[in-house]
């Protein structure tokens, strides 16, 4: 019981200093005094959107509209996706900060102690919109409470160059299995435009590839009990061995440490033929058709198509970035924040945002699959089912705190990265096993 005491001492000292130094307090207060003293303010922290138009939409249209309709002030703040976690942590530890914070994937479980249960809002949404997908539900709800409100899933699909894959023999659309993909990939690399895939420490493109890849071979981190580490299996070793050869034969070997941005640039510059990514490549290519062109001088956007990852012996899987909104316990405006959250999830308001994304993000409820947007552009159509087909890390257990730890330590990704760099498959799997055991036994 040492802690609270020390805290209160500092707090006392703080207020004393604030009273004593009216001079400084005066400076601090100037321009900051709540001009909206009677009005509630909701501070919403999100990532800077991949689609700039969506941020514009919030700032210029939706937020002012919400302010008017709800009679509150809304501060919308955007940061780089990588910087959400330090902000969240600092806010929770200091007990002050944004009222609503965007969470990625299962970071919700990391912050589970510090959020307000949103079951009523989420279940209401689920009822209205034909059910929240299991994938999204598993991130937002631990079975007892809703730690966050499902927002959307920017799907991860393979973006590929139609013409190049056809030249390499993939005449019936994108390869259906890893074996086929490898055969095609070999020819692609021989033709000078390999497959690009990162195995680096980056929150987006690396785990969204390595996890589903492992699952499709039958590998998994833990058993269903969420305790027994099960990664050291014949299936996982098989997958690592295949990956090692697949990498050498078909991949751009420079990609080992790419971050989420490198493959976009490599693809747009025409050096790689396929890569797992969000739709951002296609969106960028369509935004500037004159800038990004194929070697034949045609707009590159017309040569791009999307596909889910190929299937392995154990089936076909996908993992996507899942975004949800947490309402923080320390917030002094919980009611107002809830009100606002409800407002943005109203169909007519949410739709405006959804449209601005042009299919980049897949909503978490079944109803949106019917939306005409998905019929507008066949290239974006594969993203429609991203949220329905996803599987969460930590499989076959829950995507809980432990799974989140394994994810943020890049254990599965590093297992493949080590093997690709020359470590024998058995050894790299054993390494991953020992790291996972440290996490799951704690």
């Amino acid at each position: 019981m040492l802690k609270p005491k020390r805290r209160s001492v500092i707090k006392l000292a703080g207020s004393a200093a604030a009273v004593a130094s009216t001079g400084m307090a005066g400076i601090l207060a100037s321009g900051r005094t709540p001009a909206y003293a009677q009005q509630k303010t909701v501070h919403w922290l999100r990532w800077v959107d991949f689609v700039p138009a969506s941020d514009q939409l919030w700032r210029k249209e939706l937020v002012p509209q919400a302010e008017k309709e709800l009679g509150m002030k809304i501060n919308i703040e955007t940061v780089n996706g990588n910087d959400l976690q330090p902000r969240t942590t600092a806010a929770i530890q200091s007990g002050s900060g944004p009222d609503l914070i965007m969470a990625f994937n299962n970071t919700t479980y990391i912050y589970a102690n510090s959020v307000v249960d949103l079951t009523d809002l989420a279940e209401d949404l689920s009822k209205r919109e034909g059910g929240i997908f299991k994938y999204c539900r598993s991130f937002c709800s631990d079975g007892k409470i809703f730690m966050s409100m499902p927002w959307a899933v920017p799907g991860a699909m393979i973006s590929y160059r139609k013409s190049w894959l056809e030249e390499a023999g993939a005449t019936n659309g994108f390869p259906k299995t890893w074996q086929e993909y490898r055969t095609v990939g070999k020819k692609l690399k021989a033709a000078g435009h390999p497959i690009g895939q990162t195995l680096g420490h980056t929150f987006g493109d690396a785990p969204t590839f390595t996890y589903p890849y492992m699952w499709s071979w039958g590998g998994k981190e833990v058993e269903q009990d969420g305790k027994t580490v099960a990664i050291n299996s014949k299936e996982t070793i098989e997958s690592v061995k295949f990956m090692t050869d697949f990498w050498k034969e078909a991949h751009d070997e420079g990609a080992l440490a790419w971050d989420d941005t490198n493959n976009n640039r490599a693809f747009l510059s025409g050096t790689i033929s396929a890569t797992l990514n969000g739709a951002s490549i296609y969106i960028e290519a369509s935004r500037k058709p004159d800038t990004y062109q194929t070697e034949k001088g045609k707009p590159m956007k017309d040569d791009i198509q999307h596909s889910p990852l190929p299937a392995g012996p154990a089936g076909q899987f996908g993992m996507h970035l899942m975004q949800s909104t947490m309402l923080m316990k320390y917030s002094k405006n919980q009611d107002a924040a809830k009100q606002f959250l409800k407002w943005v999830h109203t169909e007519k308001n949410y739709e405006k945002w959804f449209l601005s994304q042009k299919g980049y993000s897949t909503p978490c409820t079944a109803k949106w699959e019917e939306h005409p947007l998905w019929k507008q552009d066949p290239v974006m159509a594969p993203f429609k089912v991203a949220a329905r087909l996803g599987q969460a890390p930590g499989f076959a257990g829950l995507p809980n705190q432990k799974a989140a730890e394994a994810l943020s330590k890049y254990i599965v990704t590093d297992m493949y990265a080590k093997a690709v760099q020359g470590m024998p498959a058995e050894e790299s799997v054993k390494w991953a096993e020992s790291e996972l055991k440290k996490i799951y036994s704690a």
């Binding site: 040492l2 802690k3 020390r6 500092i10 976690q85 330090p86 969240t88 942590t89 929770i92 530890q93 970071t107 990391i110 912050y111 589970a112 102690n113 510090s114 195995l199 680096g200 420490h201 980056t202 751009d252 070997e253 420079g254 990609a255 080992l256 440490a257 790419w258 971050d259 490198n262 640039r265 490599a266 510059s269 050096t271 316990k329 705190q401 989140a404 730890e405 943020s408 330590k409 890049y410 590093d414 990265a417 080590k418 760099q421 790291e435 440290k438």
Partner: protein
Amino acid sequence: MAVTAVPGMVGGRQPLPWMRKLEDERWLAFTLLLPTAILLGLFIAYPFVEGIFLALSDARVGDPGHFVGLKNFAKLWDDSIFWTSVWNTFWYTAVTTVFKLALGLWLAMLLNRHFRGKAIVRAFILLPFIIPTVLSTFAWKWMFDPTFSVINWTLFNLGFIKARINWLGDPSLAMTSIIVVNIWRGVPFFAISLLAGLQTISPELNEAAAIDGARPWARFWLITWPLLLPVTMVVMLFSVIQTFADFQLVYVMTGGGPANATHLFATYAYQIGIGTGLLSQGAAVSLAMFPFLFLIVVIQLLYIRRVEVR
């Protein structure tokens, strides 16, 4: 800096009572140290103690946790990634410091003479040191990018390489690349500070030695280097501390990858503490840096003292 014109120093008004108190060395010292003590006490001492408590608990984000003693450190002892980052940090600090010193000294000697555009060169050479690290690191990242590397282009066209070099993708090269950027950033600081040191050495000493027939190399070792040593040590001390706790550079460049090959203390602490929310373990990693750093610094300080006494 003339000493003569000091207004109102002699005679004048009777000093105020509190001014008289300041005549006592202890009171004066106390007064002079007060602002520092307040700021550091408030913004370092308290958080530091808090940090130690954190490292001795099993706290995670939003959960104060309980006291668990040294359990977090015991865990680190068995953590291979931790030892990789320890080794990386030492290697990183040692290599960069040696190069920064050697190149910085060389550059300082080159700048320590008269030539046209001296002022401009001196100022612009400081650019790498001035620019926010995060941003310059992005520029380097672009130059190292396997697909777009201008360095590869240059080496290729000069005929040094046949295939591209995978700067950040190869584990040992990734470390080298990071080291290169750190050296690039640090050389200007060394050069300008050592230049300041060089200018305090009177040219007559060197001239006299030259007349006595000392070769340039001998003149450097016997005259310049010993006189420069105090400045050098101070500059090195600060550089070592900065480098040892470096975070931004690696965070932006590789995030500790590929396969943890470039993790340093700070980036690993960040990954555990912030990435996974295990604040206590993150704090333990940060804190584990302290004794190592402390040891290095004590050795350097003792050496400085010896140099100063001499």
